[in-house]
Symmetry: C2
Subunit: 329 residues, 2 copies
């Protein structure tokens, strides 16, 4: 039996796009497709679109579901991987409470389906195919609208008792901080994410602070985006610079916690915010060297993800392949 | 060859006592001994006493070093287990900077020696022989003068890239908090440890707050101990109650971070402070249920350590045995 006899479908459901891909059973991507998530249409509509997307990519590549070996799904949110249920929503999929995604897809296609958190999937993808190849112990942190995490221990994805390990964006770094969407206080996500940056800029502008952002937003300061804050900071706007440096500081605090807890060989930073190098990532890296245990920073490298927005499907594919074949590191 | 042909020596070096023990190569404790650490006499004197303690327990049990299979040493501080060096000190062994403990003991006895952090050792001991038997993913937190941590992943001790993983007392939980002995800010240890409790009580008394502690300490408020604060709290003293409940709150915040990051099946609480049940441990457990991800608290048990002050030698023995024999979970 060749690898083409039993391909895998991998899916990554994000807040704006659903990516589908077909993989050979040794982890090569054979085809890829993208469609919009359209979160506002509701959970059921998104799941319908997800199922259609799977049919579409199979049809386009002359495959039938009966030849599929498995489906791996990376999904934002707090996932119980043992049952494949999306238990708690993320900022990207805000209404996904207790959605039995594995059951739904498994019944629809009659194919073994595996669901895992998208940041965990990205960690596995980067370890198997990207920045973390050959690295035994690494932590991936996704820096986007929210902040997620994925943990590789001794070469294998670590999901914990139920699959929800790696919620590194929901470690309290400032007990004096605001309430996070997850219900916890002063989480890394609520202090340092893209959404936190936009929210803090808006809060200050509404209080009357001056900034080029007001003009950039045509006075509609409530709709200012993280991208606008980053652009204003790059142009030297002092409010935008302050807001980003504050988020960067908290990112550093969160990374120190990760380094002291995990003593990883590598931290991989993914997501759109990871591209804000000098304004956001670099100061955070400096704080890690200043504050974390020296033993744990000596051989540490903090790098940028290599697989970009494909990390999730690579990881979802690897997860499904390893669950089905029993192969791991 | 029977197990008595190749016994192991295990040592736990703490701030007040050095415990030595002889173990069979299947992990049964055959003999145990305790001597004072006398930290004030300096690092060299403590290491001499440690070496003497090993000779003594061997002599008393009719063993010679040439029959030993290995020596395992659990030691407070930031340990580079790969090289067996105590890199950074803990509150219990405050002057232990860059002490090549493995080298020193290995040369002295000509026996393979393995050094690991005492909380990591306790985690391994509790998993192999105590509260965590059969539990695959657990985190142990030692609550004493300082706060330490040990991590078991898939049944095996996780030490990270260099052996310093598990420094869970040195995760920032309050960026607005004081500087910790480790150089980081607002660490769990500086907010919630036994030393933090005593320090906060003293700070308030020096500022003139009223408490039965002043009388209990004969007016010498600077020397008030954690035990005295606990006793005063148990007797209803409101300052002592407030100080303990504040530490308990931060302990809860730290445990939430651990639960969200690791999704463990079990958290084991060890150390003297773990015995302060209703005043310290119970409110922290409640906070975990309130704040942590519900997926991660559903099947979580938070229990008290079973091996008491022997957890370190049990873990040091297991570590040495597993390093020598290649056995793991």
């Amino acid at each position: 039996m060749t690898q083409f006899d039993s391909p895998f479908v991998a899916v990554d459901i994000g807040g704006t796009k659903i990516m589908t891909a077909v993989f050979s059973n040794d982890g090569r991507m054979l085809a890829k497709d993208v469609c919009p998530t359209l979160v506002d249409e509701g959970v059921d509509a998104v799941i319908e679109r997800l199922a259609s997307a799977i049919y579409t990519i199979l049809n386009r590549n002359g495959l039938v579901t009966s030849r599929l070996a498995g489906i791996g799904i990376a999904c934002a949110g707090g996932i119980d991987s043992a049952s494949g249920v999306v238990v708690t929503p993320s900022p990207n999929l805000p209404d996904w409470f207790d959605i039995p995604l594995q059951d739904i897809i498994e019944k629809r296609f009659n194919i073994d389906t595996f669901v895992l958190n998208d940041a965990s999937a990205a960690a596995l993808g980067e370890q198997r195919f990207g920045a973390g190849q050959e690295v035994k112990n690494l932590v991936l942190v996704t820096l986007g609208t929210g902040i997620g995490g994925g943990i590789i221990i001794e070469g294998n994805l670590y999901l914990g008792a139920r699959g929800s390990a790696g919620e590194l964006g929901h470690m309290t770094v400032d007990e004096g901080g605001p309430v996070c969407g997850c219900g916890n206080i002063g989480c890394l996500e609520v202090m340092a994410s893209g959404r936190a940056v936009a929210r803090e800029a808006i809060r200050r502008l509404v209080q009357g602070e001056k900034s080029s952002l007001t003009e950039m937003a045509d006075g509609k300061v409530e709709s200012i985006t993280t991208e606008q804050v980053a652009a204003a900071a790059a142009a030297g706007d002092s409010l935008a610079l302050y807001v980003l440096s504050r988020a960067s500081h908290y990112l550093g605090v969160g990374l120190v916690n990760i380094v002291n807890a995990f003593n990883p060989e590598m931290i991989i930073l993914g997501g759109g915010m990871a591209e804000l190098d000098s304004l956001y990532v670099e100061p955070a890296k400096k704080l890690v060297i200043e504050r974390a245990f020296s033993i744990s920073t000596r051989n540490l490298s903090i790098v940028t993800a290599q697989l970009g927005n494909e990390a999730g499907v690579y990881g979802a594919a690897a997860y499904a392949i390893e669950q089905i074949t029993g192969r791991t590191a």
